[in-house]
């Protein structure tokens, strides 16, 4: 099939190796660098449209208010808060990463101290030990999740700010706990944005129907 004259092993010129390298590069860049991602894009859009587009969440009027994958910075008392973030000025998705402080870093210890102080101040009624995840920075800086313990720890504050009973709020939190996938993989977690959205929606629907029917939506989305 090849028109190249046959030569004995070891007689190829350096130039010939370079020509083959250039041809191979051109052909495979087109195949693996362009066609392959385009095919995956096509298949992904067809089969998993929502995920392919970045798992975006639309608000009431159709505007995009976030992504299931990306945590947001919450400061108001009526919202559950995520983990400390080292991404930019906090939850900046264009500047992902952790603190990169080592275990003997003074900056790490000072940061943890102030996170503990802030957490205690914001949650005077909290019961139980301080959850480790609420005072340590995540790896990505956009971690959308907290541990169930981290959510229950904040529940008294949120219930107070929303004038709800702690029991009914805890029920909503419980419905938003994503268990380990297939009962095994990952850790149990609560998506903070989904939980806060459900609370806002629940606040509206309480007035009309007295029930919170949005609750189970986000609980185990990919399971």
């Amino acid at each position: 099939m090849s028109t190249t004259p046959q030569t004995a092993p070891g007689r190829d010129s350096t130039f010939r190796h370079l020509v083959t390298s250039v041809l191979f590069t051109i052909v495979t860049v087109i195949a693996l660098g362009l066609i392959y991602p385009l095919v995956i894009w096509g298949l992904g859009t067809l089969l998993f449209h929502h995920q392919a587009e970045g798992s975006l969440i639309s608000g009431a009027n159709g505007t995009v208010i976030g992504s299931e994958l990306v945590g947001q910075n919450f400061t108001k008392p009526q919202y559950f808060q995520g983990r400390p973030s080292a991404a930019g000025k906090g939850y900046d998705p264009t500047s992902t990463g952790g603190t990169n402080f080592g275990p003997t870093s003074k900056k790490l210890i000072d940061g943890t101290k102030s996170a503990i102080a802030a957490l205690k101040k914001a949650n005077p009624d909290a019961a139980g030990p301080i959850p480790m995840d609420l005072v340590t920075s995540s790896a990505s800086g956009i971690d959308p999740d907290i541990s169930p313990e981290g959510a229950y720890y904040q529940a008294p504050r949120v219930a107070k700010a929303r004038a709800m009973s702690l029991d009914s709020l805890n029920a909503i939190v419980a419905a938003h706990v994503t268990p380990r996938q297939f009962g095994l993989l990952g850790e149990p977690r609560v998506n903070v944005l989904e939980l806060n959205r459900a609370l806002d929606a629940q606040g509206v629907s309480t007035m009309s129907t007295g029930k919170y029917h949005y609750v189970a939506l986000g609980a185990s989305y990919y399971l």
Binding site: Q51, V70, F74, G97, K113, S137, S140, F182, E187
Partner: protein
């Protein structure tokens, strides 16, 4: 440590074990040109590619043309990526309008991806156009992995052939590695990752107004197609800075499992392919057993250290394992597992911040790399790395009993031992010497993120990672011209100075005649061999790196226990 944590690790490793035989046998058939179930689809593509590139698949190469082809292709692929990164601003698929990379960063990045290292002195989400990601970096992930596999196969031919002058055709091996092995798994795997939530699109970043009314810009891009080959090819270069810790690249526990299995898959399966080539599966299983032992020991140590946590934080009144720099969905077990597996191999993807691991938890990934990436190792490179160690082992065993060492029916003589020693020296020389220089150079110290022994650990980790073509980092270290340039040089030598001797070794072994095994032959399929092999790997690694490790993570551990801060 928890039962669930151990079960998570057990399931990942059990899946790897289940796949070793089918994938390994499949690769043996592919590289000998036999029909496989994908041949009806892929054989015409393969033939077309040979025609377009003017490759004659029937022509075999001696070790020198094989090595020349590798070098020529590495050079061309490096230049291509360097130019692409320098002109990306003028090219399409750049919705965020990112500029061209500076020369030193483009040099570092191009060397990094050509050598399968994927060290990243940039943040993808604020630096790289989609075109650079998929047609530059993503393409390199296929071909640099394919190059590693090709060379491993050439070495297997060298070990199994008798009195032969050729070791295969590099272009054919590379083509088959990419087309029959990497691409099919990548297509299936990227769809699984998409299902779990990894994005794949060409949209610009999405502007959102958060629940509290703040502005957020959410990165998009063709991530899934790149994510899978990042693990499968043990490349490790993330689409975004946070790598597999980000929810885009690794959204769930299941996506984490897929990525982990892919990291070990080909390195593990190649030991089975090797058994096929030398017509004795036990020869492959002993390597697998040695690798497994070192992996289990490393994971146990890392998991225990992270679960024990940081005593200084405990003193503040917060109990529990170390969650600094870990994601809530992965927790401690899956993070320690990922850190161990990504550094056993030359992958270097991370799902947690290694820099923020406890002192001993961070020592494990560093030491894994310092052993030379032979615990499953990089695709291909792990196999030829452990063959170096096997040759050293039979050499040392031969010295003990006063016989000429043999391996697989071949006399191991001066040339083979010289080449193995040469390779064994590349790693310490190109890790420790630059680390020593950087430790006293203002430019080397300027960009550290931590003080005290942890600062030295950042330097030592960086060069250990780069020379072994791993690419993970104690990522507090940031770039300047010193790091870009010296890092590029170290990565280059770590790849080429090991690859070329291994191809020469393949040629030398192929030319040898078979010597029949006698009663005096030291068997290489026994548990004794496994123990000796592990001993040699650990002793070589420990002797060369222990003094440096003692100054970094080990002393930091002792000070950490006393509550010392820097």
């Amino acid at each position: 440590m928890t039962v669930v944590g151990w079960l998570q690790a057990a399931v990942v490793f059990a899946l790897v074990c289940l796949l070793v035989k089918p994938v390994g046998a499949y690769m043996a058939r592919v590289f000998e040109g036999e029909r496989v179930f994908l041949s009806p689809v892929l054989a015409p593509v393969e033939r077309g590619l040979y025609r377009l590139c003017r490759i004659d698949p029937a022509r075999e190469m001696g070790w020198k043309p094989y090595a020349f082809s590798v070098v020529a292709f590495s050079l061309v692929s490096f230049l291509y990526l360097y130019v692409l990164l320098r002109v990306q601003a003028f090219l399409p698929l750049n919705p965020q309008g990112f500029g061209n990379l500076a020369p030193d960063l483009a040099w570092n990045t191009a060397v990094s991806f050509m050598t399968n290292t994927n060290w990243q002195f940039y943040s993808g989400e604020s630096t790289m156009s989609y075109l650079s990601q998929m047609a530059g970096l993503g393409w390199h992930m296929f071909v640099s992995a394919g190059t590693g596999i090709a060379i491993a196969i050439a070495l297997m031919r060298g070990l199994s052939r008798r009195s032969a002058s050729t070791i295969g055709n590099f272009w054919v091996d590379l083509t088959r590695a990419v087309l029959y092995v990497l691409l099919p798994i990548a297509v299936v795997g990227s769809l699984l990752l998409l299902w779990q939530g990894v994005p794949q699109n060409f949209s610009g970043y999405t502007a959102v107004k958060t629940l509290e009314g703040a502005a957020q810009s959410i990165p998009q891009g063709p991530m899934a197609s790149m994510e899978i080959i990042k693990e499968l090819g043990t490349n490790g270069g993330g689409f975004v800075n946070a790598n597999s810790a980000s929810t885009w690249e690794n959204p769930t526990g299941f996506s984490n499992l897929i990525e982990l299995v892919c990291i070990f898959l080909i390195g593990g399966a190649l030991t089975y392919t090797f058994g096929r080539y030398v017509k004795d599966q036990r020869q492959g299983w002993v390597l697998f057993a040695a690798m497994t032992t070192l992996f289990v020991a490393g994971f146990t140590a890392a998991y225990a250290a992270e679960a024990a946590g940081n005593p200084i934080v405990h003193a503040l009144g917060v109990a529990g394992g170390n969650l600094e720099g870990k994601e809530a969905r992965f927790g401690i077990a899956a993070s320690a597992l990922f850190a161990t597996m990504t550094t056993d191999t030359s992958c270097g993807a991370v799902n947690a911040v290694h820099d923020s691991f406890t002192a001993l938890g961070g020592l494990i990934p560093m030491f894994d790399m310092q052993l030379g990436e032979v615990v499953f190792g990089g695709v291909g490179s792990g196999f030829y790395g452990i063959i170096y160690y096997a040759i050293l082992t039979v050499f040392i065993a031969g010295l003990m009993v006063g016989r000429t060492p043999e391996y697989l029916g071949k006399k191991i003589e001066r040339r083979e031992v010289q080449l193995a020693i040469l390779a064994a020296l590349v790693v310490p020389v190109f890790a420790l010497v630059p680390a020593g220089i950087a430790s006293v150079l203002p430019a080397g110290l300027a960009t550290l993120n931590n003080a005290g022994p942890h600062g030295f650990s950042e330097i030592l980790y960086a060069y250990s990672s780069m020379v072994n073509n791993n690419g993970s980092a104690f990522a507090g270290l940031s770039a300047n011209a010193w790091w870009n340039v010296s890092g590029g040089v170290v990565m280059l030598f770590g790849r080429i100075a090991i690859m070329i001797p291994v191809i020469a070794l393949a040629g030398a072994l192929a030319a040898k005649r078979a010597v029949p095994a006698t009663a005096g032959t030291f068997g290489t399929t026994s548990p004794i061999f496994v123990v000796l092999l592990i001993g040699v790997i650990l002793i070589v690694g420990a002797l060369t790196f222990f003094p440096a490790d003692a100054l970094g993570p080990i002393v930091e551990h002792l000070l950490n226990q006393q509550g010392k801060q820097f």
